[in-house]
Assembly symmetry: C2
Homo-oligomer: 169 residues x 2
């Protein structure tokens, strides 16, 4: 396979993976591009390589910066902003976990907390108990997941590697 073809393929696949996990396909493609690109790229470079509009490029690069997956940089003597991607796949994973934890897990935990206080009357006492019990189960599980993810996203790769290597055998 040629390098150009391989890069293209990687970008497409990463885009489709992202898209399947609720991440904007273009954002995932831009991320893929930065994962395998060694040089600094400007917003215009990204627009051209991926054939997307200015607004689209800008908005998604912005989000990637927010997530900590892309860094802003300046070339001396150039006015324009340039960007480079975080290459370390372990750091990438940690930052994606953090972003999605705050975006999705936290709101879910909030709602689950609220749902624990349901008023019962004499007619539906048992039903309310069953509901409350199940919500409690789900909440405990979500909290365990939350702590595990927090631990993982704050650890050294080394710790992770050792732990999981032991773990999977």
């Amino acid at each position: 396979m040629q390098l150009t073809e391989a890069k293209e393929k990687f970008i497409q696949q990463w885009g489709s993976l992202g898209s399947n996990w609720g991440i904007n396909r273009t954002m995932a493609q831009i991320h893929a591009l930065f994962l395998i690109n060694e040089e600094l790229l400007s917003a215009e470079d990204v627009m051209e390589i991926l054939q997307i509009s200015r607004g689209n490029a800008n908005m998604n690069i912005r989000t990637l910066i927010d997530w900590g997956l892309v860094y802003k940089e300046h070339k001396t003597g150039e006015r324009k902003e340039f960007f480079r991607g975080e290459k370390d796949i372990w750091k990438v994973t940690q930052r994606v976990i953090k972003a999605r934890q705050r975006q999705e897990l936290d709101p879910m935990l909030n709602v689950l907390s609220q749902l624990q206080n349901v008023e019962a009357d004499k007619k539906n006492k048992e039903e309310v108990e069953a509901f409350t019990k199940q919500i409690k189960n789900i909440k405990s599980f979500a909290e365990l997941a939350d702590s595990s993810l927090t631990k993982i996203s704050g650890s050294e790769e080394n710790w992770f590697l050792k732990t999981f290597m032991r773990f999977i055998r």
Copy 2:
């Protein structure tokens, strides 16, 4: 809060969580309904409760059955099919992991394997090496994630609890 309101809220929140993770919102809502509903439900019940069409209900219930999150059952003396949901949140998690692993992680691993064979010529030798190295990193990481998930989705809840409890402290 009233029970009805709480159930409604849970269904909405679960739907939105699913939707954010690339799972059809309605499918997630049906799943939520089954998570908190004690009785058997027919396709018509689901249609009515969630105000959705026959085709929609059918298709998503089918997928939930494929994933192992909902079971088909028969009431004696009734022609109609009834369904009940898997209530155990640990089993639910394991089955979701399995389904998504085969749907998304496996194809990604395949593509990454293909991408390891890129032809270099004298002009782009270094670039090809950098690319290959990065793909290799990503692939190793994806394989570690894959094994970890396989291990997790095949384990007893007890093992998982013990391991992660130790883990997060």
